[in-house]
């Protein structure tokens, strides 16, 4: 695609912002509106990233830039009865549903029972809790060099605001269900989540993403997660979108002293997925886990860019990423570990493995260490290969047919990732979904 088209499409997204503003009715007065304006200006400066951009070397987004996509409209194709396919056992009463980026009160099913906890969709929270939000929203996810974050910051008008005050525990895991419907035409949606977990608090969040329709969905997400002193947030994300979805997801987690943040990120759907998952360990004795699994077939493209920033001493990070690719699928894993000058006694571990199952599948891996402190223990390992032929022969010699032996081995390859999912019903359902999906590879 020529440069002109990049500019043209960028200008389209910039000019559309006026229409968006005019439809915000009332939200123009909130302090956040200034941030929106500066974000759209930044986006205009940055434009969409081209392949010559080092961070986009292996991911080509030009198919997404062929059409001038309008902002997402409403859809009423999903009924409460449809949701059963997407929900997890035991989490049906903690369900927050978003359709095409907009919160759906009708489909959601949630009642807050903990004092001081705020769980409210962003559009209304921007009005009702503007001060609390101003403290955190867009304070962590930097849009200075990330066009998609800039775009989301400018356009996002809904999502979820979760605020857990100090010492509170939200026992029941929350389920954030994201549905897309592009049956009425292609669209562009922005969802923005803000999660603030106060000191000594506990929270579990499960996100899942699904969709229907043939036209392009450009789903652009940003989540900011703030984990204060000694708090623990467990985060699970399942991306199983339909084959017309372009799923772009930027996560910025910010950790304070002695906090724990764990993300298990699973990508098995969508046409093109790009995750930028950033975890900043900003105080001592933090623990961060980035666990991921991806699986692609046909022409799927799945790109995970992760960064763990050890800014302070005595922190521990653990990253495990596994991928299985068949058909003409391609995968990208880019895992950065930064250990800043002050971050002595850092312990950082990264392991990523990929399996290629077909002649046309490919994977590009770049595990990257940048170390500026000497008293650290850092290691990364990366392997790409096939299933162990010896093990398959062993299974076959016990009477197990070849195909089954292969899917058992694929499952075995992936299974340690699932063990990190802290909610049993979620683990079992994901586990089952993936095992079934192996057959399609």
């Amino acid at each position: 695609m020529s440069k002109l088209n990049y500019d043209e499409i960028r200008d389209w997204y910039v000019s559309n912002f006026n229409t968006f503003e005019n439809n915000l009715n009332g939200s123009l007065d909130v302090p956040f509106h200034k941030v929106r304006k500066s974000a759209i200006a930044k986006f205009e400066e940055l434009g969409f990233p081209a392949r010559r951009h080092e961070e986009w070397k292996y991911t080509n987004i030009t198919p997404l830039l062929k059409e001038k996509l309008p902002l997402a409209g409403k859809s009423d194709r999903f009924s409460a009865a449809d949701l059963a396919a997407y929900t997890f056992e035991g989490l049906e009463k903690n369900l927050l549903v978003f359709v095409n980026g907009q919160y759906s009160k009708e489909l959601s099913n949630y009642k807050n029972t903990v004092d001081g906890v705020i769980i409210e969709n962003l559009a209304s929270a921007l009005k009702n809790h503007s001060d609390l939000i101003a403290d955190s929203l867009s304070q962590y996810a930097n849009y200075d060099d990330e066009a998609f974050v800039a775009l989301n910051t400018a356009y996002a008008n809904d999502g979820l605001f979760i605020y857990v005050p100090d010492n509170a525990e939200v026992e029941a895991p929350l389920h954030l269900l994201h549905l897309s419907d592009s049956n009425d035409g292609a669209f562009f949606s922005n969802t923005r989540h803000l999660i603030v977990a106060g000191k000594n608090s506990r929270l579990k969040v499960v996100e899942s993403h699904h969709g229907i329709g043939d036209a392009i969905c450009f789903n652009n997400f940003v989540s900011e997660v703030v984990v204060m002193d000694n708090a623990r947030v467990d985060h699970v994300k399942l991306q199983d979108e339909h084959s017309a979805a372009y799923h772009i997801y930027n996560l910025q987690a910010h950790q304070e002293k002695e906090s724990v943040y764990s993300l298990v990120n699973i990508d098995i759907g969508g046409k093109l997925t790009r995750n930028n998952l950033n975890v900043a360990l900003k105080a001592e004795h933090c623990e961060g886990h980035l666990i991921g699994f991806y699986m692609g077939s046909k022409k799927q493209h799945i790109d995970n860019h992760t960064a763990i920033d050890h800014a302070m001493p005595n922190c521990y990070s653990n990253e495990i990423y596994k991928g299985i690719l068949g058909g003409k699928a391609s995968g990208v894993f880019n895992g950065k570990i930064f250990v800043r000058e002050d971050a002595q006694k850092t312990n950082a571990y990264q392991d990523n493995k990929a399996l290629l199952l077909s002649d046309d599948a490919k994977v590009n891996t770049k595990p990257q260490l940048e170390i500026f402190a000497d008293d650290v223990k850092c290691s990364h390992g990366a392997t790409v290969g096939q299933l162990d032929e010896e093990a398959i022969f062993y299974l076959r010699s016990r009477g197990i047919p070849k195909e089954k032996a292969q899917s058992m081995m694929q499952y075995a390859f992936a299974s340690d990732v699932f063990e990190y999912i802290p909610i049993e019903s979620v683990r079992e359902k994901i586990d089952h979904t993936i095992f079934e999906r192996f057959k399609t590879l």
């Binding site: 076959r396 010699s397 016990r398 009477g399 197990i400 070849k402 058992m408 081995m409």
Partner: protein
């Protein structure tokens, strides 16, 4: 049970089996002994159907069927079991899942009802006693982190679970201390019966004190050069393999 006729096999262009002929009848235990490199393990792997081995000639009939035509899983379903010399570690696959899958695949092949989880557990517990296996073992990954002895016991345990017609034991005694050897031998002896045969491949006579064979064969350069009763094993132990090699050389002169 099994008839091997003039079998020739090679690995990466190296001829290993050179016209091996052997017949094992139901209920018999045959021991195959031979020096290093004589083709013992090749025989075991060829029978189990490993793809790295090229069959250059000969035939193998197993219960009236052409064994060499079958894939490894079908050989297992027909009742052939190989106790591996080096059992493979499979991280992430639990023993219980592995065995349940194998048992049900074999049952399905034979037109039998699949076992449900409860039935299977009851069945498997019974078998565990045979080789003095601990219950905890079931949830561990196949052979992962097992000691050499544990791996070999696991092979015998699997044999007990899968109830084969013919078990080929490839140097199951290597690396075992005397206690483990007794447990393994005991497991095999309990399984001996009119309809089940064994081919016990070993380098040393020691194992044959515990698993007493009906016939002992000596394999040299990919061929059986001598067959006899269990006393042949004792003679080999006392005089070494040079004795048979020498005899063979004399015979060819």
């Amino acid at each position: 049970m099994i008839t091997i006729k003039d079998l020739h096999a090679s690995v990466e262009g190296n001829q290993i089996l050179n016209g091996l002929t052997l017949e094992v009848k139901p209920g018999e235990v045959h021991a195959i002994m031979g020096p290093n490199g004589s083709g013992k393990s090749t025989l075991a792997n060829v029978l189990a159907g490993r793809e790295d081995y090229e069959i250059d000639g000969g035939e193998v009939t197993f219960n009236g069927q052409d064994l060499l035509e079958m894939g490894p899983e079908d050989r297992a379903r027909e009742g052939l079991f190989l106790a591996f010399q080096y059992p493979v570690e499979i991280p992430g696959v639990s023993n219980v899942n592995f065995l349940k899958t194998a048992v049900n695949e074999i049952r399905e092949y034979r037109g039998e009802e699949k076992m449900d989880a409860m039935e299977f557990l009851a069945y498997i517990r019974e078998k565990m006693k045979l080789v003095e296996m601990d219950e905890k073992f079931l949830s561990r990954s196949v052979n992962e982190g097992f000691s050499g002895g544990e791996k070999k016991r696991n092979e015998i345990f699997q044999m007990a679970v899968l109830e084969p017609k013919l078990a080929v034991m490839d140097e199951t005694d290597s690396g075992l201390d005397i206690d483990a050897l007794k447990i393994v031998a005991n497991g095999v002896n309990k399984m001996r019966g009119q309809d089940r045969s064994f081919i016990v491949i070993t380098h040393y006579q020691r194992l044959l004190n515990y698993i007493v064979p009906d016939v002992v064969h000596v394999l040299v350069d990919g061929k059986i050069v001598e067959s006899g009763d269990k006393d042949l094993a004792l003679r080999l132990e006392a005089q070494g393999y040079d004795w048979v090699k020498g005899e063979q050389a004399a015979a060819t002169v």
